[in-house]
């Protein structure tokens, strides 16, 4: 199967040099109204009989599965439960209508033309999608980095006469006045955030999703990462939806399902400033229509380009071949809920990870991401005070560009433009984060003009953190290219070993600890290691023999760059491990934990003992907690309450964890 994965990863990202077409270019030449009213006559899935939204709802409510679950619900009468199920379904259901698609296309078209210089789409991917949609039910799986993602796929598919998807969305969007309804009629269906153990809700949702897949009445779009990534880094996939989507294949209700990973990359993310504040604990504004209008000042800004890269359609049948035995579903009526075997669960998890990895491989790295990587390796005082030398940054960025290409990253570096122009226009685009003057680049820190009082040192840390975390987000966009060689570089740095097996074992350890931070396809440790080795060898950083990995003189720059790139993660994890070990309390709540870590970190930053702001990010803190739970060093007692497993936490993990 490892070969399959490699092939998938390599081919999913299509050819290296592929054609991207700017779809806004034509939009700018024609009238918006004419565009919105264009003939729309897509080729649907050949197996799908026409079914309306009410047919869909009826099929769900009358399904054997739902009837079974309803009969199980005790406490109230069957009629009452059925009524409740109907209510859930009404709240959830999409109501896709062509008229609203036109309205959506009209509006989105206007907004996008305003926000973006260009929207680049790979036509080859789109053609393959068009083919795939006729063959089997298609699942569109974009990454999720911005609210803007939400309708971009529908917009493109409308433009190219491909069936419009129904899209899984969070329930808060539904509650927005007017807009919620427009989204619903543009194909959105809404899922509650905290479903927990509400069996009836799960049942309605899963039957709804499965029915859509089974009938193939429309492509289904959902975010396998579960939510919008606040860090712009890929999020470890959520499996609930993935389970529901794949089940019709496992149960033989469809011949195959096609997964289409879609990588959406932004030069500049519309909500960049909100992201950092959210991560630092400033709550995100509730989705509301008025909020949306307030946000309309974002329309004044330039967000550069957007790339939408449709990956090669993946056949679920091919992916799962040899991994699962579908006959486990043969002994229980397929309409009844059945807990899938670990084999099936592992397979779902594997597929989900593979998709996210493919999204990563398909996303484009902007020059700005490279610069962010480098800026973050400068001492913080340099960034906030005197600034980093422009010349040096340019040189380093160009060096890094070469490294990215060596590592087979997909770079979005404008062709036919002098490098210096690329650099300065990039910095100009990101004027909210850095400014460039007098040959130096400084971090822009938001002052609060209303406040007359000087900031306390702690407030100062938070202010800097906000700016740094914005930079971190853009660095994160490039991280997937460097993670594997980066971990190897770290392993070399820490173990000081040249023995391949020793490095491999440490590589695996780090890979394991950071499995909530970066996307690693389960069961592929040795392939990841081999990939890291071959990339480092390719860029001339190390020499490989059968048993040994030797660092080359010429490779020190690469290794040090990679090791520093991951250093903030090591520092952050280390700090939290230490906090948990040294903190007397055996049992702690999430509510205590997050501010306590933030306080400790702030203190250490002020004292100069901690050089990263990333531990202040709630995302990092949550990832560490998840990692510790996965490694069984911490156990969840109930919602929000944890207990540390002293012998583990005090023992193997931190001692093996590098103190550097």
């Amino acid at each position: 199967t490892s070969v399959v994965v490699l092939v998938v990863l390599r081919t999913a990202s299509l050819k290296d040099e592929e054609e991207f077409t700017d779809i806004l270019e034509e939009r700018r030449r024609t009238t918006d109204l004419g565009y919105a009213l264009r003939t729309f006559n897509p080729q649907p899935y050949k197996g799908a009989p026409y079914s309306s939204t009410s047919d869909l709802k009826k099929a769900v409510l009358e399904s054997q599965y739902l009837r079974y679950i309803i009969a199980l619900e005790t406490g109230s009468s069957v009629e009452k439960v059925r009524q409740e199920a109907r209510g859930i379904l009404e709240e959830m259901s999409h109501n896709l209508q062509l008229g609203f698609i036109r309205l959506m296309a009209y509006t989105v078209n206007k907004v996008f033309k305003r926000l973006f210089r260009s929207i680049y789409v790979n036509m080859e991917g789109l053609n393959m999608l068009q083919q795939a949609i006729q063959e089997s039910p298609v699942i569109l799986m974009p990454n999720h980095r911005s609210y803007v993602d939400f309708l971009i796929v529908s917009f493109i598919l409308f433009t190219y006469d491909i069936p419009i998807p129904v899209i899984a969305a969070g329930i808060p969007l539904a509650s927005m006045k007017v807009v919620g309804e427009i989204l619903r009629r543009s194909g959105a269906f809404f899922i509650r955030r905290a479903i927990g153990s509400d069996k009836l809700y799960w049942a309605v949702l899963s039957e709804y999703v499965r029915t859509i897949v089974r009938t193939g009445c429309a492509p289904l779009e959902f975010y396998v990462e579960g939510f919008r990534s606040r860090t712009l880094k890929s999020v470890v996939p959520k499996l609930g939806m993935m389970d529901m989507v794949l089940e019709p294949y496992f149960k033989g209700e469809v011949f195959d399902i096609t997964l289409v990973p879609i990588s959406i990359s932004y030069d500049r993310v519309v909500e960049e400033s909100l992201l950092a504040l959210e991560l630092l604990g400033v709550p995100k504004p509730k989705e509301s229509t008025t909020g949306l209008f307030k946000a309309s000042r974002v329309l004044q800004e330039d967000y550069g380009c957007m790339h939408v890269n449709f990956g090669r359609p993946l056949s679920v049948r091919q992916l799962c071949e040899g991994k699962i035995n579908r006959s486990e579903y043969n002994l229980i009526p397929r309409d009844l809920p059945q807990r899938p075997s670990t084999e099936i669960q592992d397979c779902v998890n594997w597929v989900a990870h593979l998709i996210v990895r493919t999204q990563e491989e398909g996303s484009l790295i902007s020059p700005w991401s490279l610069m962010a990587c480098l800026l973050l390796q400068a001492p913080i005082t340099t960034l906030t005070e005197e600034g980093l030398q422009w010349h040096g940054l340019t040189e380093k960025t160009l060096w890094l560009r070469k490294l990215v290409l060596d590592f087979r990253g997909r770079l979005n570096w404008p062709a036919h433009t002098p490098d210096s122009d690329v650099m300065s226009s990039t910095v100009a685009l990101h004027h909210s984060i850095v400014h460039h003057k007098a040959g130096r680049v400084c971090l822009v820190q938001d002052g609060d003009p209303a406040s007359q009082d000087p900031l306390s040192p702690e407030e100062g840390v938070m202010r800097t953190a906000a700016a740094v975390l914005m930079l971190v987000s853009y660095r994160n966009q490039a991280l997937h290219v460097f993670v594997r060689p980066g971990i190897l570089a770290t392993a070399i740095h820490i173990t000081k070993s040249t023995q391949k097996d020793e490095l491999f074992s440490f590589f695996c350890f780090l890979r394991d600890v950071f499995a909530n931070e970066f996307i690693f396809i389960p069961g592929r440790a040795s392939q990841d290691f081999d990939e890291a080795c071959s990339l480092l060898q390719k860029c001339g950083a190390v020499h490989m023999s059968e048993q040994e990995v030797t660092v080359l003189e010429t490779g020190l720059e690469v290794l040090s760059f990679l090791q520093k790139l991951l250093q903030p993660f090591l520092d952050s994890y280390q700090l939290i491990f230490r906090y948990l070990c040294e903190n007397g309390a055996h049992v702690f709540t999430e509510k205590q934990f997050l501010p306590a870590v933030q306080n400790l970190a702030t203190k250490l930053i002020l004292s100069g003992d901690l050089h990263t702001f990333e531990v202040l990010s709630s995302d990092t803190q949550k990832n560490v907690l998840s990692a510790l739970r996965r490694l069984e060093a911490v156990t969840k007692l109930r919602a929000g309450l944890y207990i540390t497993q002293k012998e583990l936490l005090g023992g193997s993990i931190p001692t093996r964890f590098p103190l550097c």
Binding site: G252, F255, N330, P333
Partner: protein, 660 residues
């Protein structure tokens, strides 16, 4: 010669031959039933007398003693001269294809398809649509021929490995035997594609070393005793219609292999009119059994598609199923008593009680044992008075889904006619291609009108519609009542009655389809059918998925033209249905077509199992499907079967290595 298909409405003398054979097809004049059956009988007698003349003594060991054995039979045995199967099968049957030597499809000088001979209703007719269908379905071309080796080259047959001691004692018993190459080759195969393909190419593998023709139960007892004494491998041979590689000699077998041909054990020993049972020697083939019982006014009603050639013993040994099982039951329902000769002795029950609670039914060790435990010699079977009235029918459905829903409803109401079969769209078209030349402008005009009514007036899509064929049997009034009930149900599922002709042609197709394969093989087309049984809720899914799998596998394996991949539902049960798949493709451009064929069939079987289908409904396991036995019946189940084998046949005398 004008041969339209006469409507088979009120024929009292309707017997299976009427469907099969031209000489029985005098129903055009329904009133003169007795007259026609007389003519028919005379014709048959003449035929078998001629066949008897042609029969020459084998190797000087003509069955003198066997006559004595025959003489032991009782008075009821009056018809031994009219048996279909001579010892030298090659006198009337093809050595490298299906059925009678005189009957085959070919393209005449005008390039029209024609069916030769005089046996069948289609014999001597032109089939105008077949050529175009073959060309458009397979991309076959009359210019590209792949003729079979015309005669068996005896020098290609390995000389027999004879066990002299066994042979010597066998001679003394007077039981006829032969080690003639033709006789041996004839019993070395069934009708799997690879077997026939190899014969056509003149390739002969391991064949039995000796053929023996016991004339009665006692002969078999002697043969088995001798085989045990001299450690000779015995392989029972009945009708030779196996499609599971059951007759293939295990290549690893080093002992002398003796094929025990039961064809001469073909008498009805008695008929018990009080209990409606008949005691029959197990070598009798279906058509003889039915014809002889018919003469006494009875029938068994067991009509597997292979009934012209397959034998009673073979049915028992493979758990056969007949077309009219809805009225008469499958073989396990029909059998009252079995006598089997095993290396441990003879197994039989002590009485003919219709049902017993005496531990696990030992008959079920015998039924489906596929010749691994012993030779079935005599069987007591239920018989029924011949039905007074028989009527064919057909229903056209707008699509396959509706058709399956209708069959399901018919099964739910337990009102299935003697036979009900649903063909998918491809098979419907195939059936149409097999329509013989119409005799009058009026008929073709009517056909056109019907077509217009269904497709234009009723709006059926000719590329989606499908047809169910029906056969009703019983007394006239009940049949008509029953017919109305079934047509009423069909109407609820959009079904339109489509006449008796279509129904009758559908059943006829069953018997000639095996001949068609030989025609295909003359023009680069190879194919086969295979079957399964599956719960009702999975019927549609399994049909779609298996057909799609076949198409995909063919594409992956480099088959140049899209294959014919079609199915039909041939039996209904309370809890599920039997589904038949037909699969054929044009193999031009493939270096090893049989291997490709086998890979695709293997994949299709995997797909069937993954979709909740059984390993076999009635074809059996043989050696072809052995690899899936363990997962099918569990390890404990295998252990049970194994321990029975170990007890009954510790030295593996019955060494065909089927099943386990």
């Amino acid at each position: 010669m004008c041969h339209t298909f006469p409507a088979l409405t009120s024929d009292r003398s309707s017997r299976i031959c009427s469907l099969l054979y031209k000489h029985g097809s005098s129903m055009a004049s329904n009133s003169s039933g007795s007259d026609s059956s007389d003519r028919q009988r005379i014709a048959q007698q003449r035929l078998s007398v001629i066949a008897g003349h042609l029969q020459r003594p084998v190797e000087g060991n003509s069955g003198i003693l066997a006559a004595e054995c025959k003489a032991q039979g009782d008075k009821l045995d009056v018809s031994s001269e009219r048996r279909t199967v001579p010892r030298r099968r090659q006198e009337i049957m093809k050595w490298n294809g299906w059925g009678y030597s005189d009957s085959k499809f070919l393209y005449n000088k005008k390039g029209q398809a024609e069916f030769t001979g005089k046996r069948y209703r289609l014999s001597g007719m032109i089939i105008p649509g077949l050529r175009e269908w073959m060309e458009s379905t397979f991309g076959a071309n009359l210019q590209h021929k792949t003729p079979a080796a015309p005669i068996l080259n005896s020098s290609a047959v390995q000389p027999p490995t004879l066990n002299e001691a066994f042979l010597k004692e066998l001679k003394s018993t007077g039981i006829p035997f032969s080690h003639d190459a033709e006789d041996r080759v004839f019993r070395s195969h069934g009708h799997c594609l690879h077997e026939i393909f190899a014969l056509r190419e003149g390739k002969i593998g391991r064949v039995p070393d000796l053929v023996v023709w016991p004339n009665c139960h006692n002969d078999v007892v002697k043969i088995v005793e001798l085989a045990c004494k001299h450690n000779v491998c015995l392989m029972p041979y009945g009708g030779g219609t196996s499609v599971s590689s059951a007759l293939e000699c295990p290549p690893e077998e080093t002992r002398s292999i003796v094929s025990l041909d039961t064809s001469q054990m073909n008498r009805i020993l008695w008929i018990d009119e009080k209990n409606l049972t008949a005691h029959v020697e197990a070598g009798i083939v279906g058509q003889d059994l039915e014809r002889l019982l018919n003469e006494s006014g009875y029938c068994t009603g067991h009509e597997p598609d292979s009934m012209e050639f397959s034998s009673l013993g073979g049915w028992v040994a493979t758990r056969a199923s007949g077309m009219k099982k809805n009225i008469y039951g499958n073989i396990e329902d029909l059998v009252v008593h079995i006598k089997m000769v095993t290396p441990q002795g003879v197994i039989e029950k002590s009485c003919q009680g219709p049902r017993m609670s005496t531990g696990p039914d030992v008959h079920h060790f015998i039924m489906g044992s596929e010749g691994t435990l012993g030779v079935v010699t005599e069987v007591t079977m239920k018989i029924r008075p011949m039905p007074e009235y028989q009527k064919y029918g057909s229903v056209v459905f707008p699509n396959f889904e509706m058709g399956v829903a209708c069959l399901r409803e018919v099964a739910r109401q337990r009102c299935a006619p003697a036979s009900i079969r649903l063909m998918d769209n491809e098979q419907f078209k195939f059936g149409h291609a097999l329509k013989p030349q119409v005799s009058s402008i009026f008929t073709s005009f009517l056909d056109g009108l019907k077509k217009f009514y269904i497709t234009k007036f009723k709006g059926f899509d000719p590329n989606r519609l499908c047809v169910a064929t029906l056969l009703f049997e019983g007394d006239r009034e009940k049949v008509l009542q029953h017919e109305k009930q079934v047509y009423d149900i069909a109407a609820k599922f959009g079904g339109l009655a489509a006449g008796e002709d279509n129904g009758q042609r559908g059943y006829m197709l069953t018997f000639v389809i095996a001949y068609l394969r030989d025609l295909g093989m003359d023009y680069y087309v190879i194919g086969e059918s295979f079957e399964t049984s599956v719960p009702w809720d999975r019927v549609l899914d399994i049909c779609r998925n298996v057909k799609a799998r076949i198409v995909r596998e063919c594409k992956d394996k480099g088959v140049q033209f899209p294959p014919l991949s079609t199915c039909r539902v041939t039996q209904t049960y309370d809890a599920g249905a039997c589904v038949y798949f037909y699969f054929a493709f044009n193999y031009r451009g493939l270096s090893d077509p049989v291997h490709v064929y086998e890979q695709v069939e293997h994949a299709a079987r995997e797909e069937i199992l993954a979709n909740g289908g059984s390993l076999s409904h009635h074809h059996g396991v043989g050696k072809l499907r052995k690899e899936w036995m363990r997962e099918t019946i569990s390890s404990v189940g295998m252990g049970m079967l194994k321990s029975v084998k170990d007890y009954v046949d510790p030295n593996n005398i019955f060494g065909n290595r089927n099943l386990l």
